[in-house]
């Protein structure tokens, strides 16, 4: 099993407004507090490498207190020079949100070259509220995603210069310097929300697929569809194409872990993912078939989830090291996933570091049969 440390870099705060996204005023953001947070979060990611994590994950979100990384490539750049072994997974860049996605090809190539080939490049559409924050037309989202992905992959793999003439992106000269170090290109991952079109697209290209903040039964169903699609495309999915992706809370005993989880794990759902209804559903972002699937199978909104829902629904794992080991085993077997991608929150920076250490010492070593396997070999490209 491979372990990736996942960070959202939230701005933890309480407020009574209807949405933590798009309209929550940035007057709530105190840059002095932000300075401390950014540095603590980067310390956590660097510490994760020291403790033995295989990868460090950053990701892109805009105009909210849930995740303060509008440019994940900036954070990745800081990690490149402060780490030496771990993969740096950018999960991902929101391709359709860019007016000039060639810039993503350039930035990822820069990071890949500077890091000695440690970069994993996530391709995402950006979640629904991002279309309000960036003003990109959500009815173009899917088409822009595919077109930008094609452009970036060609820019990485074809000798330049060549001309690219898409519907949304047009360049007389595509010829980025530098070229990426990894061949044929850095692995591409597809974090997504389960639309059948994306599952199919990722499976066809052997791009690892992952889902975030979703109940495990739903993840299991989508991962099943992904593996079936891989078989249709003539190969069997590697376990490293799928992840167990959820927050983990570990403490010396179950009671202590529950106490910490109850105090800190709900914030992401109740505040971080509080999104005003219109921002959840920009027109045309979902295909009609995906919309029907959502409407026919209504699930609770994140703000409606109780701690019991999180536990029972498999949104989080919490407990003593032994409990976490058992649950992790169940989850990884159920999902047949070879990578655990998770972040931790002990309530304070120091307690988060302690929790990370406990996990690295008491949980991780029990899952290290594959210590010498390169999880990115033959995957994601």
């Amino acid at each position: 099993m491979k372990f990736y440390y996942f960070h959202l870099m939230p701005y933890p705060m309480e407020h009574d407004e209807a949405s933590s996204w798009v309209t929550l005023s940035n007057r709530h953001y105190d840059p002095v507090v932000g300075h401390t947070l950014y540095n603590q979060y980067l310390d956590q990611l660097e510490y994760a490498e020291q403790l033995g994590w295989d990868g460090l994950c950053v990701n892109e979100h805009h105009q909210n207190c849930y995740g303060t990384m509008p440019s994940p490539n900036v954070m990745a750049a800081m990690l490149v020079r402060r780490t030496h072994r771990a993969k740096i997974a950018i999960l991902g860049n929101g391709l359709p949100l860019r007016e000039n996605p060639l810039r993503i090809a350039e930035e990822i190539a820069m990071l890949d070259v500077a890091s000695g080939g440690r970069v994993i490049s996530g391709f995402v559409r950006g979640i629904a509220p991002e279309y309000f924050s960036t003003a990109v037309n959500p009815t173009h989202s899917r088409e822009r995603f595919y077109e930008a992905a094609e452009l970036i992959l060609r820019a990485w793999t074809e000798e330049g210069p060549f001309a690219f003439d898409g519907r949304f992106y047009r360049y007389p000269y595509v010829n980025p310097w530098p070229r990426p170090l990894q061949k044929p290109h850095p692995p591409v991952w597809c974090p997504s929300q389960g639309s059948s079109e994306t599952v199919e697209w990722a499976a066809r290209r052997r791009f690892p697929y992952l889902m975030v903040f979703t109940p495990i039964t739903r993840i299991a169903q989508i991962y099943r569809e992904y593996r079936e699609a891989c078989e249709r495309h003539g190969y069997t999915a590697s376990p490293y194409q799928l992840t167990v992706n959820l927050p983990i809370v570990v403490a010396e005993n179950d009671a202590k872990a529950y106490e910490i989880a109850q105090a800190h794990a709900l914030w992401v759902y109740h505040v971080g993912l509080r999104v005003a209804a219109p921002f959840w559903r920009p027109p045309g972002y979902l295909s009609e078939s995906s919309l029907r699937r959502v409407l026919d199978n209504p699930t609770k909104l994140p703000t409606e989830l109780t701690f019991e829902d999180l536990e029972a629904g498999g949104y989080i794992i919490c407990g003593s090291p032994a409990t976490v080991r058992d649950k992790l085993k169940v989850f990884s077997e159920e999902l047949r996933a070879g990578i655990v991608c998770s972040g931790m929150n002990g309530g304070t920076h120091e307690r988060t570091l302690e929790m990370m250490q406990l996990f690295a010492e008491e949980v991780m070593p029990h899952f290290r049969d594959d210590a010498h396997v390169d999880e990115t070999a033959g995957v994601g490209r």
Binding site: N137, T139, P278, R281, P282, P283, G284, E288, L295
Partner: protein, 242 residues
């Protein structure tokens, strides 16, 4: 397309949420005109129309429709989003219009005015933005909350967003082309329109040669819903002039 009434031909282009609706306002117009009220592609349960990329696609769609039904000339009436389409049609084919009536149209950039972003609003904010009297909003209520209806409404919003998300509710080229309109033009405007304020009305009137402006004191963005009788009467009076 709803067709009713008798008299000279009138084409009515609806705004958001107006697909397939036939209100007392239409009824009154139909006393003196043969009113045709088509449903925009992708609206009112029609299949998604992915070929529509720009507001001018809708303008040409309706010019083609006039050819198809053999109408050489019409009185063209458009409300809100439908007014935008009507204005685009008029800039290329005003010789086919006996008259042009625009009811609180959107579609042009007005200095000092940014249209409030309806796509980001919940229902109470929508009602407050569009209506002077909130009770009038009942006319736009969806028929139910079934999955089919919700998918239909989503498709309708997507059809609007395809042509109006960004730039939001205007075509940067339209304003400087309004001077090409040669048809007699009436602008109807709700005094309390909070989507397209009276500053917008003034800009339209300045750009369209000879346009008349009628203000409706008891209305927001939709005078044909809030003051249907006086709005219809003003339109009838204008369109019946030679």
């Amino acid at each position: 397309m709803v067709t009713a009434g008798k008299g000279a031909a009138m084409l009515f282009l609806h705004g958001a949420g107006g697909a397939g609706r036939w209100w007392p306002f239409h009824e009154q117009l139909a006393r003196n005109f043969t009113v045709r009220a088509p449903t925009h592609p992708g609206h009112g349960g029609a299949p998604a129309a992915d070929w529509i990329e720009h507001i001018s696609d809708l303008a040409f769609h309706y010019l083609d429709l006039l050819d198809e039904i053999g109408l050489e000339r019409v009185h063209l009436v458009g409300a809100s989003f439908g007014g935008w389409i009507a204005a685009e049609m008029a800039t290329v084919a005003s010789h086919r219009l006996d008259s042009l009536v625009l009811i609180d149209p959107v579609g042009i950039k007005v200095d000092g005015w940014i249209y409030p972003f309806l796509f980001g609003m919940d229902i109470p904010d929508l009602v407050a933005t569009l209506f002077h009297e909130p009770a009038a909003a009942m006319a736009l209520m969806p028929r139910d909350q079934s999955v089919d209806t919700l998918v239909e409404l989503y498709r309708e919003r997507a059809a609007l967003a395809r042509v109006s998300w960004n730039p939001y509710l205007y075509d940067p080229l339209l304003r400087r082309r309004l001077g090409r309109i040669r048809a007699r033009t009436l602008l109807c405007w709700g005094e309390h329109d909070r989507l397209a304020s009276l500053a917008c009305a003034a800009a339209w009137q300045a750009e369209i040669p000879g346009a008349e402006l009628r203000i409706f004191r008891g209305s927001g963005h939709l005078p044909h819903l809030e003051e249907p009788e006086t709005t219809a009467a003003a339109i009838l009076e204008f369109c019946r002039q030679p």
